[in-house]
Symmetry: C2
C-alpha cells in the first residue's frame, strides 16, 4: 500500500474551493475600493457585498438585513453571547450555556462571570445531548440569554435546537445557536430552528478563512463587540472585507446546493470508518451519539494510549487528524467536551477526532483504518497501562 | 484633456500590491491547514505565520510575542480601549481620549461610558493638535488608560506622541496610539513613540483588507475582546487567518522599505495640490496642520457648497475622493474631527479629503485641480449661499 496524503481534519478547516477563490480574485485586484464609499469606483464592491448578503440570507432563510458579517465564528459567538447578555442586563444577569460549547462560547461565559453575570452550564448525557428538562430547570426569572450549539465540533452530537429554542421563547428568553460545524452538512434554517441568533463561518464549508456571519433577528438589538464607523448598519466596525465576503456568498450558495450530496457521501465514509474501527480494533469507545451525529464526525477513545502519540504516528503515514478540538490543540488540557460526557480523563487523553470532508474517498478511510490498526497495536505493546484482561466492552 | 481614473481615497483603502497577493496565494490553495494543528501538513502555515509576526515586530521595533493579529484596525482599537480599560478597572475607571479619534476609538469610549467608566475627550487646537497641558490637566488619580492617535484619518494632523506618552507614564498610565493612517508614510516605532499599545491595519499600506495588528507591550495584560481557543497565545480567538497574515507580513516589510521614497514622492504631490487649490480657488480653508501633517493628506473646506455635491461631480470626472472620513460616509453627520478643530458645521459639510497614494502621479493631481476649479465655480454659481463679498481670507 503506497503512502497517501489523507486530510481528515475538515472540522478544523476545509480546502477553499477553486471557484470560490476565483470569484474573490477581482476584489483582490481591480475592485479594491471601500464598499461604503460613495463614488462609482466602489459601487461594484457595494453590489458584491449586497449580493453575498442576499446569498447568506437565502441560505439560512432570513432577511438580508438580519445578516452581519464578522471576521470569524469566534467573533460572531463572542458577539452573540457578550452582546446578547449585555443588552439584556436591564432585565437580568443570568445566562445559560451547555458544558460542551466551543471555547469562544465557554470563554465568553467566563467573561460574563467576570463582569457581573451568573452563568449556568448545562450538563449533557453520555452522548453529549442536552436534555430539555435540564434546560427547564436551569431557567430563572433573570435569565436573559441561552446559547446551545447545533452540532458539536469534537463529537458531532446534534442537539434538538427547535425544542430547546421553544423552551427559551416560552420564557421570553433570547436563544443563540452556534452552527459553525453544521452548515453544509445538515440543514441550517433560522425559521425551522426557531432561533434569534445564529453563527456560521465560511472556512468550515470550503470558503475562505476570516469571514463569519452572525444572524440577528430583526427587532433584537444587541450590544456591539467591535466598535467603529457605519459598517454593517453601524453594528460592526472595520472596513468591509469585500473579497472574503464575496467568498462567503459563493461558498454558502454551493454549500446549500451540495448539502444533500455531500452529506450522503460523507455519511457512508463515516459509517464505514466507525464500523471498521469498532470491529477491528479492540478496547475503543465511540465518543458522541450513535445516530444524532454530524455526517463528518468520527471520534474514538483508544484506551490505554495517548491521543498525541496516535496523532504523531498517523502524521508519519500522511494522515492529518485532531487529538482535541483544533482550537485548543497545542494545549495538553483534556477536552472539556469529552469530560462533560463522563469520559474519564485518561480516556479523553486517548481520543482522536477524524473529520471527513467532501474531498475524501473511501480509499482514504480504508488506508487510515489499516494504518490505525497497526499503530494502536504497536503503541499498546509499549504502553505500561495496557493489560488485555482489562478490556472494556465496546460500545 | 482626456478623462482619467484618479483614485485619491488612499486613506480609505489602498490597492493590494501584486507581489503581496502573490505571496498570499499558496495559502489560499495548497497550504490551507489550520496553523495551530500539530501535523506536518500545517507546519508550513505555522511557519508562515511566525515569519509574518517576525516581519511586523521588526517593522515596528518590538518582540514577536508582542504582536497580536486581529481582523482589522477597528478590532485592534476596540480591543485596546475596552480591553485596556477593563483590565485596569481595579485601579480606576477613568479614560482619556482626544476629540478627533477614529470612530472605533470614539465609540469604544461610548461603550466604556455605558459600562461604568468616565471618559474625558481632549480638545484640539484649530490645526487638530492635542496640547500637552490639556492632557496634564485631564489626568486624574483614577485614570487608567490614554489613547491618542499618531496621525488623523481626516485631516492628517500628526501628534507629538512621544511627549504625550511620557506624560502618561510619568503618571503610571497605560498609553495606546492608533497608527492606522501613519504606517508606511511616517516612522512607526514603538520604542521611539514610547507607547504600550499600538494599532496598524494592512490595507492602508497596500496589504489585504481584514488583517490588523495590536502591539501590546510585554508584561501588560489586557482583557480579551474576541474569546476563543488558544490562538494568539490565548488572547484572540478565531482560526488563524494564514493567507491574510502572510499578506500583512509582506506588506509591512515593503512599507518600511518604501516609506522614505513613497513619502518624498507623495509629499511633492500633496504640496503642489495644496498650493494650487489655495492659489487658484477662492474661499477655501485648508483643514489640518500646515506642516505637522501626513504626506498623503489634503483636506479643504470649500465654502458655500456641499461636500457631497463636489464628490459627485468629481466622481463624474473619474476622480474618487471622500467627503468625510470613509468610515462614516453614508452618514450625513458633519465630521466630528472638523467640528473639533472649530470649523462651523456648514464649512465642515463643504469639506473634501483627497488622500494621495504611491500609485498617483503629478498628472493625477493637476487633472484633479483643473476639474475641481470648474466644479467649484459652477456649484457656487448655483448656490444660494454664495455671495462673493463674503469671501473669507485664505489660510
Amino acid at each position: 500500500m503506497d503512502k497517501r496524503e489523507v486530510y481528515l481534519d475538515n472540522s478544523a478547516t476545509t480546502k477553499l474551493d477553486e471557484d470560490v477563490l476565483e470569484a474573490m480574485m477581482p476584489y483582490f485586484t481591480e475592485y479594491y475600493g471601500n464598499s461604503l464609499s460613495q463614488y462609482g469606483f466602489s459601487r461594484k464592491c457595494a453590489q458584491a457585498v449586497d449580493d453575498a448578503r442576499y446569498s447568506v440570507a437565502k441560505a439560512i432563510d432570513c432577511k438580508p438585513v438580519e445578516v452581519y458579517f464578522t471576521s470569524c465564528g469566534s467573533e460572531a459567538n463572542s458577539w452573540a453571547v457578550r452582546g446578547g447578555a449585555l443588552s439584556g442586563r436591564k432585565r437580568g444577569s443570568h445566562v445559560i450555556l451547555s458544558k460542551i460549547e466551543h471555547p469562544s462560547i465557554m470563554n465568553s461565559g467566563k467573561w460574563l462571570t467576570q463582569n457581573g453575570f451568573d452563568v449556568t452550564y448545562l450538563d449533557v448525557d453520555k452522548y453529549g445531548m442536552v436534555h430539555e428538562d435540564e434546560l427547564r430547570k436551569a431557567i430563572r426569572e433573570d435569565t436573559v440569554l441561552i446559547s446551545i450549539m447545533l452540532a458539536n465540533n469534537e463529537i458531532g452530537t446534534i442537539q434538538n435546537i427547535p425544542a430547546l429554542a421553544a423552551i427559551a421563547h416560552a420564557n421570553g428568553i433570547v436563544f443563540h445557536t452556534d452552527c459553525v460545524q453544521a452548515m453544509g452538512l445538515i440543514d441550517v434554517n433560522v425559521k425551522k430552528l426557531g432561533v434569534d441568533m445564529l453563527t456560521i463561518s465560511a472556512h468550515k464549508f470550503y470558503g475562505p478563512k476570516g469571514v463569519g456571519v452572525l444572524y440577528v433577528r430583526s427587532g433584537l438589538i444587541i450590544d456591539r463587540l467591535i466598535n467603529g464607523g457605519g459598517q454593517e448598519r453601524g453594528m460592526r466596525g472595520g472596513t468591509t472585507n469585500t473579497p472574503l465576503i464575496v467568498g462567503m456568498g459563493v461558498a454558502i450558495e454551493k454549500a446549500v446546493t451540495e448539502t444533500d450530496t455531500n452529506a450522503a457521501k460523507i455519511t457512508l465514509m463515516r459509517d464505514r470508518m466507525i464500523e471498521r474501527i469498532k470491529n477491528e480494533i479492540p478496547d475503543v469507545i465511540l465518543n458522541g451519539h450513535p445516530r444524532q451525529r454530524l455526517p463528518s464526525n468520527v471520534n474514538f477513545a483508544f484506551n490505554y494510549i495517548e491521543g498525541e502519540s496516535i496523532l504523531m504516528r498517523l502524521d508519519l503515514e500522511g494522515i492529518a487528524v485532531s487529538s482535541g478540538s483544533a482550537c485548543s490543540s497545542g494545549s495538553l488540557e483534556p477536552s472539556h467536551v469529552l469530560l462533560a460526557t463522563g469520559l474519564p480523563v485518561e480516556r479523553a487523553h486517548g481520543s482522536i477526532r477524524f473529520s471527513i470532508g467532501k474531498h475524501n474517498t473511501m480509499e482514504d478511510i480504508d488506508y487510515t483504518v489499516d494504518k490505525l490498526k497497526v499503530i494502536i497495536a504497536q503503541l499498546r505493546e509499549m504502553s505500561p497501562l495496557y493489560k488485555p484482561q482489562d478490556r472494556v466492552k465496546e460500545v
